[in-house]
């Protein structure tokens, strides 16, 4: 989990990028938000966002076959409780033990405890009623194997089924690991047949040192597809690449999924082309800026006009620096 320890970049993302999104959502819904995710021992996210949060379900893994990892995870769990107590956050805290993907898939942790915002139906049927998911996938999206799709990918799909009928925000951070690279490139290439082929082929062709571009393109499209099938109108912020703790390369996604009540499939207001056209943003040294390299045909001016939902200071940082 050390990739997800805080850093200057993470601090900026937490306060300047994420918090305005949550504040707007809090105003929109006129209520405080229920959080589910990986808080980490210092609970920096929860502490930074506490004014808009109501309850927080923290998940800490519990590795079974690796005593050293188990000891670290137990320590992290203990530190979460300690941090919560010391910061007066313990009242809203529920701590679940197990992998976050298993909790989503099974609707319970390894002790059989259900997430507090899950309804009371059978585990395979129950819905979750969270407003915010904060998922940090250390190790990327998983490993492709002959036995099936990676558990994390299945968990992301399952998330939409669990949340059916309940709008939510997803903050997803992925460690840039090329464990699924061929599959991601294949996915992007195949998507090209539906449009924006030039851009998608460009993303699929990114080589070593630019894998974050493949993730930048693939993950929103993957999420969008599954969200719409479950009746959500999805919208995405520009993906954000940064270096985290010990120079780990990360990509951070901000997504809003609004329940529409559609019977068969929802149709998002943000089009597929608009999602593909989103720029990659870099956060370096605590500063936000458009990445120097963007996909072919990237139009900064058009982008500036379409991204008016960004907080004003973020918008001006991105496009004034681009103007420079």
């Amino acid at each position: 989990m050390c990739a997800f320890r805080t850093s200057d970049n993470k601090d900026v993302i937490r306060t300047s990028w994420n918090l305005p999104v949550l504040q707007a959502w809090h105003e929109d819904t006129a209520r405080k938000l229920a959080y589910f995710g990986l808080t980490g021992p210092e609970m920096l996210d929860v502490i930074a966002w506490r004014e808009v949060l109501k309850v927080w379900t923290a998940v800490e893994e519990r590795p079974r076959n690796n005593p050293e990892k188990r000891a670290l995870a137990d320590l992290a769990a203990q530190e979460i409780v300690l941090t919560a107590t010391r910061n007066d956050l313990d009242d809203g805290l529920e701590l679940l033990r197990g992998s976050v993907e298993d909790v989503i898939l099974e609707a319970m942790d390894e002790n059989g405890i259900r997430p507090p915002m899950a309804d009371t139906r059978a585990a395979h049927l129950c819905n979750f009623h969270y407003d915010l998911y904060n998922l940090d996938f250390d190790g990327g999206l998983g490993f492709a194997s002959s036995t099936g799709r990676p558990r994390r990918v299945r968990a992301l799909e399952a998330l939409f089924r669990r949340q059916q009928g309940n709008s939510f925000i997803l903050f997803l951070t992925v460690n840039v690991r090329d464990t699924l690279r061929p599959k991601v490139a294949e996915f992007l290439t195949a998507l090209g047949s539906e449009g924006s082929k030039e851009q998608l082929d460009w993303y699929a062709a990114r080589q070593d040192g630019q894998y974050e571009y493949q993730l930048k393109a693939a993950i929103p499209l993957f999420l969008r597809h599954h969200a719409e099938v479950c009746g959500f109108d999805s919208s995405f912020w520009p993906p954000l690449a940064y270096e985290g703790h010990e120079r780990a390369r990360m990509v951070h996604f901000v997504c809003l999924f609004k329940h529409t009540g559609a019977l068969f499939k929802a149709f998002s207001s943000q089009t597929r082309d608009q999602v593909i056209a989103l720029p990659l943003v870099r956060c370096a040294g605590g500063n936000l800026a458009l990445a120097h390299v963007q996909h072919p045909g990237f139009d900064a001016n058009a982008c500036s006009l379409s991204l008016t939902y960004l907080p004003r200071d973020c918008h001006s940082k991105l496009f004034s620096s681009e103007a420079k």
């Binding site: 769990a77 409780v81 010391r86 313990d90 529920e94 033990r97 405890i113 507090p116």
Partner: protein, 572 residues
């Protein structure tokens, strides 16, 4: 020469001992112990023997926080772990190393509750692993100590099943092999200690998740602070801090799986329909001398309604009576002190309070349900009886008199209302005479009851108002008896102008309130009602009703006398 002796350090030591014994045959010699003389099994024996209740672990770890000067202790129970977090002084590296010691503690029996150096191992049978994280006040470093209890148990279990004579792990080796220590990369500078029992078995988690029993256990065993909604919280805190050396009160919160955090407080008004209705507490030292100081300090508060303190509480027996406290934990239950109030033990549940035992020679027994028998304990009991109990009984009796007077005065008010309504209608002369007699008796008693009340009582002015009304009625009746026609004319004039009414014939409105039964009087006086008592009250009630009409004055007076005797009064 012993056979099978190995050429080892142990063997060399054994040879040396043999030689010394041989040289000094017949003379007892000191026999040194070594680390291999104490087996790891000792840990299992001690923890099983001392800590059979999983709640004892909560107590031990929380008590460590209290001994470390904590003001706040949080207890959080999740699916499989128990965390006890305090904001005490915390531990540095040296302290945390010492914490692992068995049977050795830097604490003092005089200052601390925990001093035996075994409490850390109270979770030995409950969890897989105990993890302690601590930051000392003023220190930047945070340390973690991990004791792998499951691994220790597994090793001991394995050795138990081995043949006799097989190698056994010493206590020192067991602890060395299965304890880890680390300095953590913590950014928090808050001092305190967090103890987490990891992988607690489900049956223990279930027991620890019983909210009521956990709360009651904590209230019994930790120096928990008063609830803020207890009316005398601030005053008692101040008095106890001043008079009880090392008085401590901690704020404890408890969070069970899936439930919101709640405060564990003593004298909370939760479950009490009328909140706390108590008189100002009496706070006094007991016994001792100017040189040695008092042997105890108590506070007690009386329920002015002359009923048990728990009469309208959802949990009976929670606060009725007085409890012993020693170093912040309770000794026994509130029933322990009842006998000190004999023979007036029926007033005992009207009080609530605490006795802080200060004499260091009065020592709790191992079960903490009583004190060890000793001259110091007997002296304490003697002083409690002669000082505390006598004083409180007098208070109770005084209040009882006042309470009875207040009730009587209220009753007279209702009586006067009825009389006033009755006198507005026409009635035979013999009734006027009877009414006059009632008024004169009422006036006499009203004055007597008024004088029994403190001048500050609100009922005093009410009593005076009733006396004025009674005197007015007396004057009316006297006029009526002197000149009935004139009085009748006056009354008719009043009726003509809309005052008064004529009752239906045959109806004589009741003047007096119903007479309580003997059973009611015993209940009201706080008697413990057994089956034998019920039978006796039925016999006496039937006999009284057989001998007298329940409408008669004699009947009423018979039960009034009983009522007064029950509350220790003479009705002159």
């Amino acid at each position: 020469m012993a056979s099978g002796r190995k050429d080892t350090k142990e063997g060399a030591s054994e040879r040396s001992l043999e030689e010394r014994i041989e040289r000094q045959r017949g003379k007892p010699l000191p026999l040194e112990a070594s680390s291999s003389d104490i087996g790891g099994e000792l840990l299992s024996i001690l923890s099983k023997g001392l800590y059979t209740n999983p709640l004892d672990c909560l107590r031990e770890y929380a008590q460590n926080g209290v001994d470390a000067g904590a003001r706040k202790i949080s207890i959080k129970i999740t699916g499989d772990s128990v965390a006890i977090i305090d904001d005490g002084e915390g531990m540095d590296l040296n302290d945390i190393r010492q914490a692992r010691r068995v049977g050795l503690s830097p604490k003092s029996i005089r200052e601390h509750v925990g001093f035996r150096g075994i409490g850390l191992y109270s979770g030995f049978d409950l969890c897989r692993e105990l993890s302690i994280i601590s930051t000392k006040r003023g220190d930047d470093a945070t340390y973690q100590l991990v004791l792998k209890f499951a691994d220790m148990k597994e090793q001991l279990d394995k050795e138990r099943s081995q043949a006799a004579g097989a190698q056994r792990t010493s206590l020192i080796d067991l602890l060395s092999q299965h304890t880890k220590i680390a300095q953590l990369n913590s950014t928090s500078n808050k001092h305190g200690t967090s103890v987490t029992l990891q992988d607690v078995s489900p049956e223990h988690v279930a027991r620890l998740s019983d909210r009521l029993s956990v709360k009651n256990y904590l209230l019994q065993n930790l120096p928990i602070d008063f609830s803020e909604d207890f009316p005398f919280a601030d005053e008692l805190r101040a008095r106890l801090k001043e008079n009880v050396p090392d008085y401590r009160a901690v704020h404890v919160t408890l969070q069970l799986p899936g439930q919101p955090k709640e405060n564990v407080e003593k004298y909370s008004s939760e479950g009490r329909e009328d909140g706390w209705n108590l008189s100002l507490p009496e706070c006094h030292p007991i016994g001792g001398s100017s040189k040695s100081g008092p042997i105890a300090y108590y506070w007690a508060s009386l329920n002015p309604t002359r009923k048990s303190v728990d009469a309208r509480a959802s949990l009976a027996g929670q606060y009725a009576g007085i409890i012993y406290k020693k170093k912040g934990f309770s000794i026994g239950t509130r029933e322990k002190v009842r006998h000190v109030f004999e023979p007036r033990a029926q007033v005992y549940p009207w009080f609530t309070g605490e006795i802080y035992v200060l004499d260091p020679n009065v020592i709790p027994n191992a079960e903490r349900n009583d004190f060890e028998t000793s001259p110091a304990k007997l002296a304490l009991l003697s002083h409690l009886k002669s000082e505390m109990a006598q004083h409180l009984i007098r208070l109770a009796e005084k209040r009882s008199k006042e309470g009875k007077a207040e009730e009587k005065i209220e009753g007279y008010g209702e009586q006067l209302d009825k009389l006033e309504r009755t006198l507005k209608t026409s009635h035979p002369e013999e009734e006027s005479l009877r009414f006059l007699g009632d008024i004169l008796a009422l006036l006499k008693d009203l004055e007597k009851r008024r004088k029994q009340l403190p001048s500050s009582s609100a009922m005093v002015s009410k009593a005076k108002e009733y006396e004025t009304r009674a005197k007015r009625l007396q004057a009316t009746l006297q006029r009526e008896l002197a000149s009935p026609d004139e009085e009748l004319k006056r009354r008719r004039a009043k009726t003509k102008h809309g005052e008064g009414s004529r009752p239906d014939d045959g109806q004589r409105p009741a003047v007096n309130e119903p007479v309580p039964t003997l059973y009611d009087l015993l209940v009201e006086s706080g008697w413990e009602i057994t089956d034998d008592i019920v039978l006796l009250t039925e016999i006496i009630q039937e006999a009284a009703e057989g001998a007298m009409s329940s409408e008669s004055r004699d009947y009423r007076q018979f039960f009034e006398l009983i009522a007064e005797r029950l509350t220790g009064q003479d009705d002159d």
